[in-house]
């Protein structure tokens, strides 16, 4: 393992599955970590079994009805706006990789993109789309 991490040269080709080893290590670490944490809390934590605990958990407020009832439109609005603004960030990836070679021209272009982006954001705030309380 140590040898793997510290090596300077290697003989493996770029397509070799050898390069997936770090991903595998991370997987194993993640699984072991989660399992260890759950096991620890299971053994160390106190247990009190009451009927309240078996009810559906709804962030502390009292539960009512089942889950299939109409939700306020605000949830959809915020979710859709989040998706839009989240996905547009995808255009920063190619810029981030090449930003040195693109120089000031590229920077101006991205600035313009961000300006349009910001205009949209200011617009939804001004329109009150993000106001939770009416």
């Amino acid at each position: 393992m140590i040898q793997y991490l510290l090596q300077v040269t290697n003989t493996h080709s770029a397509d070799s599955s050898f390069w997936y080893l770090p991903v595998g290590v991370q997987f194993i670490f993640a699984i072991v970590f989660v399992a260890a944490m759950m096991g620890l809390t299971h053994f160390l934590g106190p247990k009190r079994k009451t009927s309240d605990k078996l009810e559906t958990f709804a962030s502390g407020i009292k539960t009512h009805g089942d889950a299939r009832q109409p939700m306020a439109i605000k949830y959809f609005l915020v979710a859709i706006l989040f998706v839009l603004f989240d996905v547009e960030v995808i255009f920063f990836y190619p810029y981030a990789v090449n930003f040195k070679s693109l120089g000031w021209d590229g920077f101006m272009a991205v600035l313009m993109f961000v300006a349009f982006f910001l205009a949209g954001f200011i617009y939804i705030i001004k329109k009150g789309a993000l106001n939770w309380e009416d």
Binding site: I73, F76, I80, V83, L84, D86, V87, E88, I90
Partner: protein, 103 residues
């Protein structure tokens, strides 16, 4: 077994036609929207596969994929708005429900 271009193309063609089939047979609007997304994503898969296996020294295919993802998000947002509005008016997300123009 080596995974090659053919495998990915077969996968993407399968996804594409599942999308087309779903679009043509499903009645639920959300399922139809999902079918359309499936079609767009199968095109994405094609772009990436062609880029990696056929034209490895180019990047255009990858960039096209980014644009498709962004446009698909915009389209999905508009779609959700329309579907919610249709649901409010017709009290259903069934595509057969809005038929007032078929007198």
């Amino acid at each position: 077994m080596q995974i090659g271009l053919t495998h990915i193309l077969v996968l993407s063609a399968t996804l594409f036609f599942i999308g087309v089939y779903g679009f043509l047979t499903r009645k639920n609007l959300i399922s139809m929207l999902m079918s359309i997304e499936l079609m767009l994503n199968s095109a994405n898969l094609n772009f990436i596969a062609f880029n990696k296996y056929v034209w490895p020294n180019k990047l255009e295919g990858l960039f096209f994929t980014l644009f498709i993802i962004a446009i698909a998000a915009a389209e999905a947002a508009v779609a959700m708005a329309i579907i919610i509005q249709v649901y409010r008016q017709f009290k259903s997300v069934d595509v057969d429900e809005p038929t007032i123009m078929k007198e």
